[in-house]
Each structure stands twice: as C-alpha cells, then as structure tokens.
C-alpha cells in the first residue's frame, strides 16, 4: 500500500523555488500592488491581472510545473505547486495562474490525445494534442499564449454550487450530425471567465448518459460571458450561458471514464491547490495582524501584550499550522500516488480546514485592527473577501464534510470496522 513518505517528498530544491517565489512576489506583487490592480481595474495592458508578471511566471515554467515533461511541463509534483501557490496566496495575487494550472492538468489527464481539427476551421479550437505542425492547447497554456479556465459550478445547485459529475451537471451537449456538438446550459463563478481564451466545460452528453469535458474557445458564438460582480476584488469571475453554441466534435476533450477521471482529478487537485493558496493567505493575514499588534500602542503598551489580542492571534497561528500540515499532506498524497479515495479525503479535509480557519482569521484580523480594521485603507478587508470567496470555491465545508462523513462512517465494511474498535481504557500519553 502506497503511503505518504515521512518527509512528504520534500526536496531541497523545493525550498529554493519557494524562496525565489517569495522574493519575486515581494518585489513585483506585494499586497499594495494587489490593491492598485483592484482599484485601477487592471494593469496597463487592459488585463484584470498583472499580465507582465504572468508572462514572467510563464517564463519561469511555473505554468505547467506539475505537467509531465513529455507533455511540455516541468514534471514536478503537487507539493511544489502548492509551495508556489502558498506564496501567491500570501500576497493575494490576482492571477489566472490557478485556473490555468487546473485547465492544463485536466488536458494532461487525458490519456489519448486527440488529433487537431482542420486548420481552416473558422475558430481556433485545437483542444487536443499530438499535431506537430501546430502547438497543442496544452502547449499554448504552458507557453502563456492561452489563458484557460475550468467551469466548476452551476447555478442550479444553489448553495452547493459544485457540479463536476454526471449526477450534478445539468449543462448538456447534443450531437448534431457527425461533427458538431450543441451546448446548452449555464455555469457560474467561472474564475477569470472574462479573461479566458478557453474554458473547459463539463456537460452531460445527451442520449448517452455520460459526462464529457468540452473545450470551448472564447469568445464563441452562442456563449454569453457575463462578468460577475464578485465579493473578492482580487478574483474576476464570470457567468457563462450556452445557448446552443455549436462546436466541432473534436472539442470533446474526454468522455465517459476519461471525463469522470478528469473530474475526480480536478477535484482532488483543485481542492489541494485552493488549500495551499489559502494557507498562504492565512499566513498573510496572520502576519498583518501580528505586526499591527506589535506596533499599535494603547494604554501605553503594544496591544499584543493584552491576552485578549494575543490569544486570538495565537489561535490563528495554531490554525495556520494545522491547515498547512493538511495542505502539504494532501499534496504529498497526490505525489506519492496513494489510493484515489485517500487523496480525495485528504484534499477535502485540507480545503475545509484551511477555509474555515481563514474565514475565522480574517474576521479576527478586522476585529483586532479595531477602528482602522473597518476601513478600506486597511488591507485586512481583502482577506475577509478572499475568505468568503475561497470557502465557496469548489464546494463549501458543508458539502465536503458530508462527503467525508459518507466515506468515513458509511458502508457495511466501514460500519462493521467501527463497531469492533476495541474499547478498553482511553489512553492519551501526552
């Protein structure tokens, strides 16, 4: 049975990479730059994120970091990617990096590369790989030529949001003739949907009772992309309405088992990546609050000397560390190739713990900043908003706790095992 190694698979060069990321972001993307991007509505090139920095990250091979070298990536693991995302979370970097990474991962998951369609088709919609003459979509994402994203949720699920499997996806794709797919349905909260050149869409393949993943180039006739006014100003999201959009059959990236595999992998990886990014953001809000507690004087001392300030900050720190352990374990589980179910369980736990801790930490951050914390000038509100956004991304705590409960407590084997857990003295040797 494959296990997570005691060292989580951590290598010295991971530390170097993290250090590099930290320095680069401290210089190019401190929180003040995030604020500037939010307030100006984007960078000088008309992008909602810092497109120059994004291209530099592409140049450093960060996009595609966890994709096999054979497919044009760096062949590094989920843990490495987590360490990078943690640094991005720390400064609340507004960037489509996560969305692109997930899209790249989804495309790389497909084992049978499809052939590209004819070049003279009116739209650019190479979604497969393997054609030497043209760079594949995956190549273009890794190369920074294509901002890609994934459509993870649908409005029909209400508070649950997440729609990645056949049972929950309502968007449908019907086959019209031999080589056309007709897409109908609606997706919401699509990360960077307004900026994306391509979106991967899970849909029910009609009359076939199975799931398919479809690569939709944007803009695209029959696809209405409406920017959402989201709670987190550092993230742009969009609502996508497919109103009979017609796509070539080759846009079908994966179906049936392949499609479910993409969904499962996207979920486990996506949750793990969000957990890592949120751990970084947690570190950010902790640092912000602890620093304020050292500098702000009241009653003649730094407020951090008061236990009513000190202890809540300590509780946040403890939460940060616990969340981080789970986030690293979830990434290490992917890298070690442990059982799929165990990967997913750890990913759910990591995401829930990180997001619950972050929401709490951001709230305490506001409170402990006092009157200043309540102003727009104080950076802490960016964390409050990111926390509200992050915990709703890829399914909220309620959704994941229920899935975990089913995995942990249900099923005959499981129940039987529980029933025979030995009684005897409860021993805690501290």
């Amino acid at each position: 049975m494959t296990q997570i190694p005691d060292d989580f698979g951590f290598q010295a060069d991971h530390g170097t990479l993290r250090q590099m990321a930290r320095r680069l972001l401290a210089e190019r993307a401190p929180l003040s730059r995030t604020r500037e991007l939010c307030e100006r509505g984007g960078d000088d090139e008309g992008h909602a994120f810092d497109s120059g920095l994004y291209q530099d990250m592409v140049g450093l091979c960060w996009v595609g970091l966890d994709i096999d070298a054979a497919r044009g990536g760096m062949g590094m693991g989920a843990l490495t990617l987590s360490l990078l995302l943690e640094q991005m979370g720390r400064v609340l970097l507004p960037s489509p990096f996560l969305a692109c990474s997930l899209a790249a991962r989804a495309l790389a998951t497909v084992t049978e590369p499809r052939t590209a369609i004819d070049d003279d088709d009116e739209e650019e919609d190479e979604s497969g790989e393997g054609d030497d003459s043209e760079p594949s979509t995956l190549d273009r994402i890794i190369g920074g030529d294509c901002i890609a994203t994934v459509a993870l949720s649908e409005p029909g699920r209400g508070a649950a949001g997440l729609a990645l499997d056949y049972a929950h996806v309502q968007t449908s794709a019907a086959v019209d003739g031999d080589d056309t797919l007709v897409l109908r349905g609606e997706k919401n909260h699509v990360m960077w949907g307004t900026e994306a050149d391509l979106v991967l869409v899970p849909a029910r393949l009609r009359d076939e009772q199975r799931l398919g993943w479809i690569a939709v180039p944007l803009p695209c006739e029959g696809v209405e992309v409406s920017p959402e006014i989201g709670i987190d100003p550092t993230r742009r999201t969009a609502r996508l309405r497919f109103d009979g959009a017609r796509l070539p059959a080759t846009a079908l990236v994966a179906d049936a088992d392949d499609a479910e595999r993409i969904s499962r992998e996207l979920l486990a990886r996506g949750l793990t990546m969000v957990a890592a990014e949120v751990c970084g953001a947690l570190e950010g809000v902790l640092e912000l609050t602890a620093t304020y507690a050292k500098e702000r004087l009241q009653f003649g001392k730094p407020i951090g000397a008061f236990q009513a300030v000190k202890h809540p900050i300590v509780d946040v720190m403890v939460d940060v560390e616990l969340a981080r352990s789970l986030a690293y374990a979830a990434a290490a589980a992917i890298d070690a190739g442990v059982d799929d179910d165990e990967q997913l369980q750890l990913a759910r736990m990591a995401k829930v713990k990180a997001c619950e801790a972050y929401h709490h930490a951001a709230g305490r951050g506001v409170q402990l900043h006092g009157g200043f914390g309540f102003t727009y000038d104080c950076d802490v509100h960016f964390h409050v908003k990111r926390a509200l956004f992050a915990r709703a991304t890829l399914g909220d705590a309620t959704l994941h706790r229920r899935a975990l409960a089913a995995a942990l407590f249900d099923g005959d084997t499981r129940r039987a095992a529980l029933a025979v857990v030995e009684r005897g003295g409860l021993t805690l040797s501290m």
Binding site: R157, I231, G370, G371, Y376
Partner: protein
Amino acid sequence: MTQDRTEALREFRAELRAWLADNRPEAPSFRLPQSFLEVESDAQFEFLRDWQRRVYDAGYLGFDVPEKYGGQGVDNDKKRITVQEMVRARTPFLVNVIGLHWAGPTILMYGSEAQKQRMLAPLLRGDEIWCQGFSEPEHGSDLASLQTRARPSADGERYHVSGHKVWTTLAHVAKWMILLARTGSEGQGSPAAEKSSAAKYAGLSYFLFPMDAEGVTIQPLVKMTGEGGFNQVIFDEAPMPKDALLGKEGQGWQVAMTTLAFERGAADPAARERGAQLVALFERLASLAARIERDGAAVIDDAVAREKLVALRIEAEALRWSGVRAAVPGLCSERPMVLPLMSKLTISEFNQRVTDLAVELLGAEAQLWLEDAHAIDAAEWPRAYLNSYGFTIGGGTSEIQRNILGERVLGLAKSK
C-alpha cells in the same frame, strides 16, 4: 395604570398605526443603508432626514424630551409604543441617531437652560445633525489618553481646538459634534503625574462643537464594504465659544461616561421592542433559509442548518427578554447594572453571528456582491456581515466591553 390612561394609549397606538400605514415611505430607487454607519450619498441622507422630519412633525418623536424644549413631554409608554409600531411597520431608521440617543439625553442631563433651549428641537426634527468626536487615531480603546486639546483664548471668550478625531459617523452632514477634548494644562507638574490616571481623566472636558467653525477639515473614510458614511475630522485651532462647554471644565470624563451608557442602551424604556427587532432579524435569516436551496432542497429543511438556526433563535429570545427584564429591578438584584452594560456586547455579537451564519448558509451563493443581478437578496447578507464589525468595534470594541464588565460589574482587577 388607570382605565383612562389605558384607553388613551390604545387610541394613541391606533392613530399611530394608521398614520404609519399612510406615511411609511416607499422603498427608494437607490440602496438604503443598513444602519447609520453607512449613510453615504446625499440621496440616502435626505431620504432619511425627510422621514425623521415627518415623524417629528406628526408628533411621534421626542417622548423623552419636555415640551418646552421641543419634545412631546416625557412619556415612556408612548415612546415604547412608537418604537414597537415602527419595528412592526419596518420603517427606515431615524437618521439623527447620535443626536437622538447620545447627545440629546446627555444635554438634558448636563446642559444649561440655554443649551437645552437651543439644541434640542432642531435635533429632534433632524434639522441639525449630530456627530461624535471621542475616538482618535492613536486612542481608540484608550479613550482617556486622547490628545485633542481645547485651549482657552486669552480673553476667555472662546476655546481653540487642535487635534484629530476619527471614525466620526455623519460628520459630513453634521451641524454639531459632541467633542471630548483635553483642557488640563500640560507641562505642569512632573511627567509622571501628567501620566497618572487621575490627571488623565481630570484634564478632559465635554463640548458641543459647531462643525461649521473655521479650521475644521472633514475627510471621508471609506469602509471595508467600499461604502462611505464615516470620516476623520482634523481641527487646526478651530474656534468655539466658551458656552460650547457642557458641564464643567474637567468634568468631561464623567459626562462622556454618561453618553457611553446611553450609547450602550442603558435605561431604555423601549428595550422590549428593540428585543423584538432582534427576533425580527432572526426571522429574516430563517426566511433566507426557507428560500435558498442546496441541491433542490430548502436549506431550512437541512438538519445541520436547523440546529444552527435554532441555537441563534434561542439567543435572540434570551436577548429579547433580557431587554424586558432590565426594567424590572426585582429580577436584576444579583447585579443591577449588568443588563444595560452588556447589551452593546451581546447585541453586536449576535448580529455578527446571524450575518455570519447567513453567509455560511448561502454557500456558493455568497460569492456575489452588491450590484450583481444574480446575488441573493441583492448581497445584503455578505454586506451585513462585513458591516457587523462596525458594531463589534465602534463605540468600544468587544474586548473593551469585556474589560468593563469584568472590572465594573464583577470587580475583577484592572487589566491595564
């Protein structure tokens, strides 16, 4: 209560109810603030001021102010009934909040006859809006250390104010400010004595400061929601007449503590109705849970959501009856002042828990913000959650409230 009185009150209630039915304003086209902490645009302000004027002109405001000062004569029953009926009719709030609840009662208690004659009627009618100048950037929780100074002029006819107040709600529309400033002479005595608690408190005085004075700069502050509504005020030798002083020189701390007690809802005859308001806030949350769905089922039918909702419902009921009990001394004998002193803490934290749970229940639906067409209830819940920190921080943070309760009520040693 006599039969006549009972009958009179019943008639009063009926008339008021009819009046409210006819006069309650329609929802405007623009977004109304959730509380006075968010009054931002002229349109919002004028809408709310107009409503206060109409209530006053109709004779339904000022039941805690004698007639000679422009009030309706003190009548706790009528005050309670008006609050009750307004909660019931869900009218907008009365915008001159600081005037009505803090400045007004303080002036009634400490003001000279001239001050009462001058200030109270325009305050009630909303013609003159009040703001509060207590907190300073460096002295939010540690109020007694504030540094704004009011220096008497050589001829003794006026004071000149220099300093910096912050988080002053409504300052941008206010005619008056209740201002706490240092009049004690500094530099005299040893530095140690200057720093001693007694000296700190004794050096403070309480003023009714005219906001249109020269040397006053008002800078709007933007809240975390992106909305305006509060400000910082910078005084540069701003003059005020000597009769701006309320009470005596050096009595400022005492007067300010009275104001803070009013702020914390002490001795409020309408406590029961305010309690009902908390239950109403809960009902709004329950209504949300009945309307939103998770995978096709109403959230209110979810066992876990119900458990959390009921826990808050119990808190609401406890707060509601605490408000009523506060007016029954025989049932408050263990520690008479605790209920009014704790209400600011408990109500602000309850409000935070309600709005926090709302956002939690919204799940994926919580991602949208004001102005998004698909946002549930126009995103008022995430907005209210963010705004809830205004209440747990403003007017003395929850942390300071707990110090006050521990020290003044339980007699525990000072934390400072």
